[in-house]
């Protein structure tokens, strides 16, 4: 009981000390909410600084608009720099519906000190803050924006007064319980807001909006500098301005937990599908790399044509050629895209990429995808986004793009131009090859005065795939693959392959004849030997018979000679008896 009482006391004490745990309000700017781990600190002050045109006003106003539209929370916008009517006019390009919001939802307070106003001594902001407090009571506002506070501060003309007024605003904000965004224009230096360093002190959260110029292309970025009591994603994140206002590009969630499809879809022709064990997985990404003219576009076109034939919506984005040029060229290898364009299944979009930042291309692509909602998508070539801006940016855009597309389950096929005829070189370029699920590399093999296209599957995740190089043949009936001929460790293609194949067929038939001949000869030999065996056998039998006969005679002879001896003996005995018995012989016994 006492323990409960005490904990209640502690709770009460902490309440009176008004130390509330940090909670966050989402800004409705998706990428920013992600990098700030949930938005801006509730009931605290956020300082937004950056150079001219970095998007401070847009960012701040977008927060108010989103709060009013989606959370029915009203806000106050105090404009120190521009007239409020200018701000409203400037944001007409965004789909915010700002004009439909009432003054109760977003109240604009013009706080521009007119240049005609005469200054005669020191002044302060106590009056303005009192007025804003009254307005807050009226509308129940929870958000407040002080836009361009640097303009006001410069009018004070005294550094000490600037600091005093900042403290006054800070205290007022702390008491008011409003969630505040204070914007200040500074020199666009990557780090400290040099002039208004003390501004940082008043804020619990500091955000920098900036620009970066690389290789003639300016890209905009946002960076979280500080966030009391919260973690955040450090680093510079690219920013673009689209229809919905400011967009912050933050890589999608790090864990890739989506359940991948096991359905296979055709890449357009059977030879290639069978190399990949039946096609590519739905929702996977395929990279086709190769030198110019290795038929990357043709394979991409075939893939989309097949998808359209299945009745799927598709999108073809080309950064190389115009739409109708592609349609014409592909028709020459029996890839008919026009009928699918007419039916609306296939949308083709072609654009030049020079002098457009990768970020901008990315946001345009997202827009196209959102409009057309394709199931299969081709970007030809994705490497075009690296034509302007820094390679690092292009790489991050390419990788983010592949992930975004994958998240919505679109089967993606991108082509990439390789600088050298070596798959490894490509991998250092945009590094899509590491993200892509399937990587098909096209190359040339030059031999025997011919240049032939070779197709290799470098990798294919989750698929048993052939490791053999195939020859890609573009015929009138479309692309097809042929087994290449390897002879003496050399891969033969084109005419050389044909010659070799013919020669092989020739020698095959010769071998056949030869072996038949040999067979016959052997048969003959066998037959002859068998015949000889037969003769000998017959001879053997005869000899045996002879032997039998001869040995029979001998025994007969022996037997007869024995009996003859007996006879003789008997005869002799009877002859000897005869003189005594001879008469007796004649004599009856």
């Amino acid at each position: 009981m006492r323990a409960i009482q005490r904990s209640a006391d502690i709770a009460k004490a902490s309440k009176t000390a008004s130390v509330q745990p940090l909670t966050k309000l989402t800004t409705g700017i998706e990428g920013f909410d992600r990098l700030s781990h949930g938005g801006l600190p509730r009931n605290r002050t956020t300082l937004l600084f950056g150079g001219p045109g970095a998007g401070k006003t847009v960012f701040a106003l977008q927060c108010l608009v989103n709060a009013a539209r989606y959370h029915h929370v009203s806000g106050i916008f105090v404009a120190f720099e521009e007239k409020s009517c200018q701000i409203i006019a400037n944001s007409a390009g965004f789909d915010w519906g700002l004009e439909t919001l009432s003054e109760e939802q977003i109240f604009f307070q013009d706080a521009r000190l007119s240049p005609e106003v005469v200054k005669a001594g020191d002044f302060d902001l106590a009056g303005m803050l009192a007025m804003l407090a009254a307005k807050k009571e009226d509308t129940g506002a929870q958000w407040i924006v002080f836009d361009g506070i640097d303009v006001l501060l410069t009018r004070l003309h005294k550094p000490a007064a600037e600091v005093d007024e900042i403290y006054r605003i800070r205290d007022w904000l702390a008491d008011s319980g409003l969630t505040a965004i204070v914007t200040a224009k500074t020199e666009d230096r990557p780090h400290e807001p040099v002039k208004y360093g003390f501004l940082q002190f008043m804020a619990d959260c500091v955000v920098r909006l900036g620009r970066r110029q690389e290789d003639r292309v300016t890209s905009q970025l946002v960076q979280m500098m500080k966030y009391r009591g919260s973690g955040f994603a450090a680093g510079e994140f690219p920013v673009t301005f689209g229809r919905s206002g400011i967009e912050v590009a933050v890589a999608e969630a790090m864990d890739v937990s989506d359940r991948p499809s096991t359905q296979r879809i055709s890449l357009g022709f059977r030879d290639l599908d069978s190399l990949l064990g039946g096609g590519v997985y739905r929702g996977s990404s395929t990279l086709i790399s190769g030198l110019p003219g290795t038929a990357k576009t043709t394979l991409a076109g075939k893939f989309l044509e097949t998808a359209c034939d299945r009745g799927e919506r598709t999108l073809f984005v080309s950064y190389d050629e115009g739409v109708w040029q592609i349609v014409r060229n592909l028709a020459s290898v029996s890839i008919e895209l026009k009928k699918h364009i007419d039916s609306g299944l296939l949308q083709m979009f072609s654009a030049r990429t020079e002098a457009t930042s990768p970020e901008e291309l990315f946001s345009r692509l997202r827009l196209l995808i959102n409009e057309h909602r394709p199931r299969c998508l081709v970007i030809d070539p994705l490497s075009a986004i690296a034509r302007s801006g820094s390679p690092v940016t292009a790489r991050s855009v390419a990788s983010r793009f592949v992930h975004v597309v994958k998240d919505v389950g679109i089967t993606l096929l991108v082509t990439a131009l390789s600088e050298a005829d070596d798959p490894v070189t490509e991998s250092t370029n945009l590094q899509i090859s590491t993200i892509a699920d399937t990587w098909i590399h096209l190359s040339y093999l030059v031999s025997g005065g011919e240049r032939n296209r070779a197709l290799t599957i470098v990798k294919s995740r989750g698929t048993a795939h052939s490791n053999q190089v195939r020859e890609l043949v573009l015929g009138n009936a479309g692309p097809s693959l042929t087994d290449v001929y390897t002879a003496g460790g050399e891969v033969l293609m084109g005419t050389r392959r044909w010659e070799k194949e013919a020669a092989a067929a020739d020698s095959r038939s010769r071998r056949l004849v030869e072996s038949e001949h040999k067979h016959r000869a052997l048969n003959y030999a066998v037959a002859r030997t068998e015949a000889e065996i037969k003769v000998l056998q017959l001879d053997l039998e005869r000899q045996r018979a002879e032997l039998k006969v001869s040995s029979g005679e001998e025994s007969t002879r022996q037997a007869s000679s024995l009996s003859r001896e007996d006879e003789l003996r008997a005869k002799r005995e009877s002859v000897a008896d005869k003189p005594s018995k001879g008469a007796g012989r004649d004599k009856p016994r």
């Binding site: 706080a111 005469v118 020191d122 002044f123 106590a126 009056g127 303005m128 009192a130 007025m131």
Partner: protein, 109 residues
């Protein structure tokens, strides 16, 4: 705070047009208190009572200040004679105040 002097625009003597002034202050904040003192001194010295001054505390009447487009305090607003003018600050710079309310030249005669 109370209003002093005559009705707007009415001549109270032979040569001066009544000046209509509004001073917006924030309670007893230092700058505001100074402004009140400075302005009352200027009025005594240069306007001879030919003026109509109202002092408005924006802490009590924020709506009035807002309606008048007042931003910082203290702000002195001259409504008459036309053109209107605004002076911000504690009004310590007397000559600029006089110039702004259009009686500088007379004051230096």
């Amino acid at each position: 705070m109370s209003a002093q002097g005559a009705k707007p625009g009415r001549r109270t003597d032979g040569y001066a047009t009544a000046v209509v002034l509004r001073l917006y202050v924030a309670g007893n904040a230092p700058n505001s208190a100074q402004a009140v003192a400075n302005l009352e001194a200027i009025c005594r010295e240069y306007l001879n009572g030919a003026h109509d001054l109202e002092i408005i505390d924006v802490l009590e009447h924020p709506q009035r200040a807002m309606a008048a487009g007042i931003l910082v305090t203290p702000t002195l607003s001259k409504l008459y004679p036309l053109p209107t003018a605004q002076v911000v600050g504690n009004l310590s710079d007397t000559s600029r105040v006089l110039l702004a309310i259009g009686i500088g030249s007379q004051a230096h005669e």
